[in-house]
């Protein structure tokens, strides 16, 4: 069981180390979709490995896999046969402690995910209800709602009953072609349910509010999702329309100071909007096939290895 513990702990630490490197890597902007998959694998693999490593400490060695060992330990604890005369009480206590921590971590992860879902659903429901009362349609932006406010804003309320919202300020700011590009971008978000991609990373930030890695992961994925939607919009509209819309937006929105966490995120490195504009105006080649395969293989391994250790004994 020691090998399993060490391997799982190794996977968990590798995931965190990779996440730190991935947050500053340059290649993700060339292949946002592959990078998003890698981020998801890192998150899931880390969760499985961390819970698994703690559970493996508690598992009884003579049974197969982490799951079997934990079940044997739990069953033994219930029938009191887990404390045979030759087993020191301290060892049993340690096992019980690590099992408790494993269960607590698993419960925390499930809880924050559920809480993030509920918050998002509730906020969206209220937002939609208010939009129904306040917004109007406009022939300049077919399929979108217009909110009468002078500031520039364009966003979507994702979900089964999704809404794309454009502020009156945006209608004044952008020309027809730029508006069409913005709509194409927002439709891509809605169609591909990018909100679901982002949700687990929101939950992770909630679970570990002081963790820099969790925040980095969230911000990286948020940016990648935007790039993905930019790429989709570029299929339908010329890239320069979207780029100029982004630049006008950035210039117009600068009066609003970014709040809290966002301000900190902007302090280092190039700004997100600048990065996206540069990407649209000077498109880079996609990833080479070997690199692409390597990324997908690591993503699969990150999830499969910890999952397999739950059932396969070492």
């Amino acid at each position: 069981m020691l090998a399993t513990v060490l391997l799982l702990a190794g996977v968990a630490m590798t995931a965190v180390a990779t996440a730190t490197m991935l947050a500053t890597a340059k290649w993700p902007r060339r292949a946002p979709a592959a990078a998003i998959v890698l981020w998801q694998a890192l998150g899931l693999g880390w969760g499985l490995a961390a819970v698994g490593a703690l559970a493996a400490l508690a598992a009884r060695p003579e049974h197969g896999g982490v799951a079997g060992g934990v079940l044997a330990f739990a069953a033994g604890a219930v029938t009191r046969s887990a404390v045979p005369a030759r087993q020191p009480l301290v060892l049993t206590a340690l096992r019980l402690a690590s099992l408790t921590m494993a269960v607590a971590l698993l419960a925390l992860l499930c809880w924050v995910l559920a809480a993030a879902c509920t918050t998002a659903l509730r906020t969206r429901r209220r937002h939609r209800a208010l939009l129904a009362l306040l917004a109007r349609g406009d022939p300049k932006v077919p399929g979108a709602l217009v909110l009468d406010h002078p500031a520039a804003a364009a966003y979507c309320v994702p979900g089964l009953r999704s809404r794309i919202v454009i502020s009156a300020g945006t209608l004044d700011l952008l020309d027809q072609a730029e508006l069409a590009a913005v709509l194409a971008h927002e439709r891509a978000h809605v169609r591909e349910r990018h909100d679901l991609v982002l949700l687990p990373f929101t939950a992770l930030c909630r679970a570990f509010p002081r963790s820099g890695v969790a925040l980095q992961a969230y911000q990286a994925v948020a940016l990648l999702v935007e790039m993905l939607a930019d790429d989709r919009a570029r299929r339908a509209r010329p890239a320069r329309e979207l780029a100029s819309a982004l630049m006008r937006f950035g210039v117009a929105g600068a009066q609003a100071p970014p709040s809290g966490a966002l301000a900190a995120a902007h302090a280092g490195g190039q700004g997100e909007v600048v990065t996206r504009v540069a990407r649209l105006l000077e498109p880079q080649a996609g990833l080479s096939r070997p690199l692409w395969i390597a990324i997908w293989c690591s993503a699969v391994l990150l999830v499969v290895v910890p999952a397999a250790l739950f059932v396969i004994p070492l």
């Binding site: 937002h127 909110l147 804003a153 709040s259």
Partner: protein
């Protein structure tokens, strides 16, 4: 809802129906709609004798501001994850970079 926003004083269901002259709505329809608005918290009601009197819970502008605040990424905490925005707010230095990029871009497309 627009009727409630236009009047300062609380209105009964009958008064709301009377103000909705352009649309011939049944009294019960208006009552149901007002009841729903009250349940969702957008209208507040108080009993005046036998009839309920309705009033908007907040001004139209207040609600627009609420929507715009979340749209501009300034809502509290993890509520910001509920929406997907076209562009996040930028810093001053980023805005300067974007402004010069935009000018260069317009020069190029103009020529």
């Amino acid at each position: 809802m627009d009727v409630l926003w236009e009047t300062v004083s609380p209105l009964t269901v009958r008064e709301v129906s009377e103000r909705l002259t352009e649309r011939d709505l049944a009294h019960t329809t208006v009552m149901t709609v007002l009841d729903r608005l009250a349940k969702k918290g957008f209208a507040v009601r108080e009993r005046d004798g036998r009839a309920w009197q309705y009033q908007a819970a907040a001004s139209r502008e207040a609600y627009v501001t609420e929507l715009m605040l979340s749209a501009l990424d300034q809502a509290a905490g993890d509520r910001q994850a509920a929406l997907t925005r076209f562009a996040r707010s930028v810093t001053d230095s980023e805005a300067r970079a974007l402004r010069s990029a935009l000018e260069a871009f317009e020069d190029r497309s103009g020529s």
